[in-house]
Symmetry: C2
Subunit: 338 residues, 2 copies
């Protein structure tokens, strides 16, 4: 298992990447890791980190870093030797099985689009995020790679999300819902109406439960929710904001109302927050790429980076891409809606 980590990615620079990498190495003896980034910054962090398996960790120097707010296309043109581009090069040349980055999401996706190494038959890659529900977790995709998709892209996201739910969540026959503004057929705009028809007439029809609404996301109405990258991105980030707001209010208004058991309540809340926090999810794979790419939250910490490396390892180990390729190949001819 060979993975690369964009060691410069994220809001906090190389430190959480280095610690997350070492944590992942300790947890998975079959993992070898390439840290891609500025040697001058990485060397002292590694030196200070204490003992680690030198034979399983190498540093590959890259001179540049894409800023978290830089425009991806410009950044790739001006800084061809950036850590994201170098990581992609390792993947495209099959020197690694997967890459992980907490860097500028647009740039990571752009690296994948530029590579043109999509799985055979895949029209556009999509990012699959796991979101917490009352019943467990739901795969939501796309959460930001493809903000104005075609119906055929969304159908393929159904295929890829279903395979991911099977392999990552262990759900034998995942149910699939289409995000819409109402449950009834015919709701919404042209994109969702055409996509609905595609699902109904595809091999996924038995798994397709039809339209779902915003309130169904956290209720766990289905195992996979298919949506465009604009809506999916808002969904993913709104969940984070709602979580922040509500947990803050609970700390103040519920825990704060107690005296004798205030500490016990605070500890229980802290445990709940830790379990639900985005860092617990690790990272979200960019599905449809020939190779594994896992994208992390910009504010990833050590736990999050280690978790994302574990997600990437799972994708490699379960041969996720082979399964996706099989099911994409089994789809009937798609509309020429590109």
């Amino acid at each position: 298992m060979r993975l690369a980590l964009d060691a410069m990615g994220g809001d906090f620079g190389p430190q959480p990447n280095v610690s997350g990498a070492l944590r992942a190495l300790a947890a998975a003896p079959d993992l070898t890791l390439t840290l891609v980034g500025d040697q001058a910054q990485l060397a002292p962090l590694l030196a200070a980190a204490g003992p680690y398996p030198h034979d399983r960790l190498t540093v590959l120097h890259s001179a540049d870093t894409v800023g978290m707010k830089e425009k991806p296309v410009e950044a790739f043109r001006k800084k061809p030797d950036n850590s994201i581009a170098v990581s992609w090069k390792l993947l495209v040349t099959k020197q690694i099985d997967g890459l992980v980055s907490a860097g500028n999401t647009g740039a990571v996706v752009a690296g994948g689009l530029f590579s043109k190494r999509f799985l055979k038959g895949v029209r556009r890659p999509g990012i699959a995020a796991l979101m917490p529900t009352a019943k467990g977790r739901t795969v939501v995709l796309d959460v930001g790679a493809n903000v104005f998709p075609k119906p055929s892209h969304l159908l393929q996201y159904g295929v890829m999300g279903s395979v991911y739910a099977r392999l990552a969540l262990g759900i034998e026959r995942p149910t699939i819902g289409l995000m819409n503004v109402g449950e009834e057929e015919g709701k919404g705009h042209e994109l969702v109406n055409k996509t609905y028809e595609l699902f109904r007439n595809s091999p996924l029809a038995p798994q397709f439960i039809g339209n779902v609404e915003g309130r169904d996301i956290h209720r766990g109405a289905c195992d996979v929710i298919v949506t465009d990258g604009f809506v999916g991105n808002v969904i993913l980030k709104q969940a984070e904001g709602a979580f922040e707001l509500l947990m803050g209010l609970v700390a103040k208004e519920v825990v704060g109302a107690l005296t004798v058991e205030r500490d016990a309540a605070a500890a229980a809340l802290k445990a709940m927050v830790s379990k639900l926090h985005h860092s617990a999810a690790g990272g979200a794979p960019l599905l449809g790429i020939d190779g594994v790419c896992v994208i992390c939250h910009g504010s990833s910490d050590e736990r999050s980076i280690a978790g994302a490396l574990a997600v990437a390892a799972t994708c490699v180990r379960t041969k996720l891409n082979d399964k996706i390729s099989e099911e994409i190949a089994a789809l009937p001819a798609l509309p020429g809606d590109e």
Copy 2:
């Protein structure tokens, strides 16, 4: 102040409408109310309700009801005497100042579109919802009237949302954000990019803070969030689902972890839930209509209906529409993007 209430609207039939109406009448001595609906169902509910001001409450019989899942256009064709259509007739003929409905949202909006009584210069009405934030409340629009808008519609939503935030929330100079997938200019798709340009070159420019992301909604990053009706609808309903999930988990994992102070914690949580629950917001006005129309959640209870009637009364009392008309008239020529 003359309002009409679609007494048949909502998931629970006429009962919460009747109780909500009586609660609103008791709270506002200047309110006169027309209950629109099936006389045979409403009469016994009113008879059982105890004393109420008969001079301020009348029932207007309508034979039909639009089901919560019926297709609006079909329902209006097959059942022209439905309670939503009859309520709209009262508004269009100026027999009332405003209407409130917890019925099929699509049908209520369709009634407004069919009426063609938009405020002068308004291209498309939009629904403005108030959402809870860490700083108070934010106006989000459109939350479902217009799922595939044009840039000029979104600019006008900025105008209407800003007036609503001023009059309903008392914010002198509301800040406006455009929902997008990232803060940086140029993110997202054509609709948001063109809308961004329109805002930057409009009289709203000093209030426009640029793009906001999903996580900004509940952080209270701005007073008004402008988005298309598809995204807005998902946002509104996702907040409800996230709220349900998290409050359920807190009850189980935090309150449930206590012994001595379990009742105190449960009471504090209940108070918090009640304050944040969608029924506390009352209803969301459909802005841009010549007259006031307030749309409620399908599962509205007595408190919610009374609250929605109060929202409608506020819109009438503050002459919201006069202010919207003034500011719409002050916009420079809009693109012909219809």
